[in-house]
């Protein structure tokens, strides 16, 4: 069986850690947090409809992996998908406009929060059926190799998604195709301890979730998902390996969501306020900020600048979304099937 690595924190090379890139990562994580806070606000105001699942607390998992990718790599995830799009470089205003159901949204207002897509930036969605996108991502990875590119696919999913049948089918097929170097995919378990209100202990017979992945000959590695240094460190190494070998790999990022499962999850009877408080002490943004402060002399003023920038970006996004027009009626019937015309290259 494939190897399992436990690695909960990375050794930090001060030079590397102080590269300007790390400040960019901090900026990105702060932007994600501010963005999510805004979406919760706008949802309560009734300007965002449907279901809303925010990423607050898990930012290091999106940023630590996605910043390690090349420009043309591709990403799939579930419905908790704003952060991934932001990390891939999608303009905040186009995401916010999507949440507002506007024509200027990334998916023309037709997908909403659960179905962000931005193929130009490598973002292949945004899916609402738990576990449904895993096989899509494995197939996409196959296609990338089949077409003889060096691109890789990344597929995020939650701990709860590991209980549905298609998880298992995706793992086995990725493991099999990997033997021929035909499945360059990085699976990321966003293990935030809960599937909605059901804790890992209550939804999984064995809480070592990675064991399921190793049962398909896919190597796994556990990482502290609150520490972006650790996440990025693993990502740098395994992304390179996947690209070279065309074989799948899986990172289990142990993380925590600070907000409710979705906007409707107010009471949270499944966890205590205390537990949430405890985890807030391990805020991934705080951890990164403190590190950069200690090692690289990042000042409070620097941080303030970043936060102001992020708030400004988000405010502009909200304004853009608000001012954008709703899709015109004709959009209803568009995109059901392909319009006439040549096939697109889909790259």
């Amino acid at each position: 069986m494939a190897k399992a690595k436990e690695q909960t924190s990375a050794t930090i090379d001060p030079v590397a850690a102080c590269a300007p890139e790390w400040t960019d990562i901090l900026r990105q994580m702060v932007l994600i947090r501010r963005f999510e806070e805004a979406t919760e606000r706008e949802f309560r105001k009734g300007r965002i409809g449907g279901y809303l699942h925010v990423y607050s607390g898990q930012e290091a998992v999106a940023s630590g992996i996605i910043t390690a990718l090349q420009k043309d790599d591709i990403v799939f995830t579930g419905y908790r998908d704003h952060a991934h799009a932001l990390a891939l470089g999608t303009e905040p205003r186009r995401i916010m406009a999507e949440l507002f159901g506007k024509a200027t949204g990334v998916s023309k207002g037709k997908g909403g929060s659960m179905h962000l897509f931005d193929v130009e930036h490598g973002f292949y969605g945004g899916y609402g059926i738990v576990g449904g996108h895993l096989t899509l991502a494995a197939g996409a990875a196959y296609a990338l190799r089949y077409r003889q590119t060096e691109r890789i696919a990344v597929c995020y999913f939650g701990d709860g998604a590991m209980n549905i049948g298609s998880f298992h089918e995706a793992m086995n097929m990725a493991g099999l195709w990997g033997k021929a170097g035909m499945c360059p995919i990085l699976f990321i378990i966003e293990n935030n301890g809960y599937a909605m209100g059901t804790s890992v202990e209550r939804h999984s017979a064995l809480t070592d979730l990675s064991a399921r992945v190793r049962a398909y000959n896919i190597p796994t590695e556990k990482v502290d998902g609150q520490d972006v240094f650790a996440v990025r460190g693993v990502a740098d190494r395994v992304v390179r390996q996947i690209r070279e070998t065309g074989t799948p790999y899986c990172i289990e990022a142990v993380t925590y969501r600070f907000s409710g499962h979705g906007a409707a999850d107010i009471l949270q009877p499944y966890r205590s306020k205390d537990e949430v408080e405890q985890h807030r002490h391990r805020d991934p943004i705080g951890i990164l900020r403190n590190r950069l402060g200690e090692i690289c002399n990042l000042t409070d003023d620097d941080v303030k600048t970043i936060e102001e920038w992020a708030s400004g970006e988000v405010a502009a996004a909200v304004q853009f979304a608000e001012e954008s027009a709703a899709p015109d009626a004709g959009e209803l019937w568009r995109d059901v099937v392909a319009e006439q015309g040549p096939a697109r290259e889909n790259e």
Binding site: Y51, H115, P269
Partner: protein
Amino acid sequence: MTEKSYRDAIRDAMMEEMDRDGNVLIMGEDIGVYEGTFRITAGMLKKYGPKRVIDTPIAEAGMVGTAVGMAMLGLRPIVEMMTMNFAIVAADQILNHAAKVRYFSGGQVDVPVVIRGPQGAGVQLSAQHSQTFESFYAHFPGLKVVAPATPADAKGLLKTSIRGRDPVIFLESAALYGMKGEVPDDAGFTVPFGVSRVAREGSDVTIVSYSRMLQMSLIAAEKLSRDEGIECEVIDLRTLRPLDLEPACASVTKTHRCVVVQEQWKPFGAAAEIAASITETVFDELDAPVARVTGEDVPMPYARNLEVLATPHEQHVIAAVKKVMYANG
């Protein structure tokens, strides 16, 4: 009679049956500790304990499959789907197992399993979360398919479902959960399958529907009466399998005009069967072809304005009624 919401009627039906019969249990995602996404099961874990109120992993096929196995061994499991959209993942367990095992075993087992949950559009849940499934299930022999329009029917039909010996697809309208209505207090109250009812009497046009669209049709009928003096007879089908079209046909014999209303896509939807069957039975009575009011034939869009365009509304029913009125067959 007590005034109850559709939600509480469903909950009451389950709790009364659980009190009555120790073999009844309920399973589903986040129905216990979390108390249910629509709070239908709130308090039930505490009352009945974890052996009878089972929080499952996210595994719809597993939920249905295990419930079928339980049912074959004498239990009466109720499976709550968080929404019926997720039951597609369990389609094989429903259509190839639950629906058929009695038959291919030559009648050696009963399969008293109820698969219930909300469905329908209206709150911007977009393409994967807004569907309705009547025609999807009602095509398959071996199943019963229920779609109540009122709190009383929700309770009475659910009790019949739980007490029966066959797999039941119990389709709740999420949009009706808050709706109130009079519900009989008698714990023995049940509503039989396959008995449609006249929800409103009228002499000009027959409207046939079920679930939320029935309520919409009633509103349309009132408006037509008030504004145009057109009196519609409105038939509530209640169950799609078995399908009782006798009251609808009797009504058409009186009105000679008929409109069928459903929420989902027109092609190969429930209204097609209803319209075709009514036409077969009372063709000579019809003065106009049966008209169908349906949702638009597109995956549900997210944007509010598009969602409104995609779903049927009173004015569509009104327009269809007028169309069949002015048509002369």
